[in-house]
């Protein structure tokens, strides 16, 4: 297994424990199959968190509602996968979402990059939404044939949602890419910023291979052709050029995240860590 872990804390000093009011993190050593599923579930969850940041800030009221609707679809998908993993490891979905440390999240880095915060543009949100939705759609379509019956059922439901996500986000990519001078410029900048992070989406590693061998789901490289078949025509319609591939590789799926991830988790997990087991 290629996944690496930060060393477990040896013994926290009592004073440090007393000073901290937050709940302790959960830790477990996932199997490759569990890591494989958390990569997808975590990508849904973290992307949902980024989309939800647009709540109250999208350019128009109707799109504001649309983005949070999409986020809720993604939360539903994340819940299903994390519940499934949790059942095998003795945790519930909330513990997995809110009590894991940064290094134990396996989402693709592209999902965690700053959204509305940090001065990023609506164009970035639109483009990421499109490129990730396209990946999810191709992935769900293949996972619907998973040897794991529960994963197949989750995917069968999610593929309908992702199909709409691709249509909705792709529509915006064309509108902005082929829109005004200003929107075209911003969309091209978003492509330059985000495209390098798409390489990670198709890099097969030992986790993928183990998942494929056990019949759980496809290796990432197998998703590229389907993804390109969705992305390329929309880019062409939008008048956007696909950049040349570079050497940069992001590593979120191995638990090594960008500097933005810690802030995202701090906000996402604050409530559950301050009020352990809190329900609404």
């Amino acid at each position: 297994m290629s996944t690496s872990f930060a060393p477990l804390p040896t013994s926290a000093s009592p004073s440090a424990a007393a000073a901290s009011a937050t709940t302790e993190s959960i830790r477990f050593a996932p199997t490759p199959q569990q890591t494989y599923l958390m990569r997808i579930g975590d990508s849904c969850l973290i992307h949902a968190q980024r989309l939800a940041e647009w709540s109250g800030h999208a350019p128009i009221l109707e799109e504001d509602i649309a983005l949070t609707n999409l986020a809720l679809d993604l939360v539903g998908q994340a819940r299903a996968l994390l519940t499934h993993v949790g059942r095998q490891t003795g945790f519930d979905e909330d513990q997995l979402a809110f009590l894991r440390d940064e290094r134990d999240f396996f989402n693709f880095t592209i999902a965690e990059l700053p959204g509305r915060r940090a001065g990023r543009d609506f164009a970035d949100a639109v483009l990421r939404n499109f490129m990730l939705s396209a990946w999810m759609h191709v992935s769900w379509a293949k996972l619907a044939q998973s040897g794991d019956a529960e994963v197949a059922a989750i995917a069968g439901k999610a593929v309908k949602e992702s199909r709409y996500h691709v249509a909705h986000a792709g529509d915006w990519v064309v509108r902005l890419g082929d829109g005004s001078e200003d929107s075209t410029r911003r969309m091209r900048q978003a492509v330059d910023r985000l495209w390098p992070y798409t390489a990670e989406l198709f890099e097969t590693d030992a986790v993928d291979t183990a998942a494929a061998e056990s019949g759980l789901g496809p290796v990432r490289a197998a998703l590229r052709v389907g993804w390109q078949a969705i992305v390329e025509p929309v880019f062409a319609d939008a008048g956007l050029k696909i950049p040349a591939s570079g050497a940069f590789r992001s590593t979120g799926s191995r638990g090594v995240h960008s500097e933005h991830m810690g802030y995202l988790l701090a906000e996402m997990q604050a409530l559950q860590r301050s009020f352990p087991g809190g329900q609404w």
């Binding site: 128009i60 109707e62 799109e63 509602i65 649309a66 609707n69 249509a167 909705h168 529509d171 509108r175």
Partner: protein, 111 residues
């Protein structure tokens, strides 16, 4: 500024705002098969494709419908509220317009 100059300035400002605003669309939903589409609200959208998508987002989030119609609000021809009395009041006192004087055989059930 004279009154007419103010009016002109306001008209220009309005035209400018309107040129930057997306048109308004009326949304009709069919709650389930066999029922009619019913008007449920309106929204702003740049074109028909966006209007359909946003109608889905705004008005069908809790499974309210299985089919959506959208139509540009400015394409709807509406009766003038001032004509309400002329158009609709004359029907009020003409019970013979309603077929309520027939004896229905019980087998017919609800009409």
């Amino acid at each position: 500024m004279t009154a007419s100059a103010t009016d002109l300035a306001n008209a220009n400002a309005n035209a400018k705002v309107q040129a930057h605003e997306w048109p308004l669309w009326e949304v009709f939903l069919r709650p389930k098969a066999g029922l009619d589409h019913k008007h449920c609200g309106s929204l702003h959208a740049a074109d028909s494709k966006m209007a359909l998508q946003l109608a889905r987002e705004v008005y069908t989030r809790r499974q309210e419908g299985i089919s959506v119609w959208v139509v540009r609000s400015d394409q709807i021809v509406a009766s003038d509220p001032a004509d309400k009395a002329m158009l609709f009041d004359p029907m009020e006192d003409k019970v013979y317009r309603h077929p309520t004087f027939y004896e229905l055989p019980p087998e017919v059930g609800h009409m």
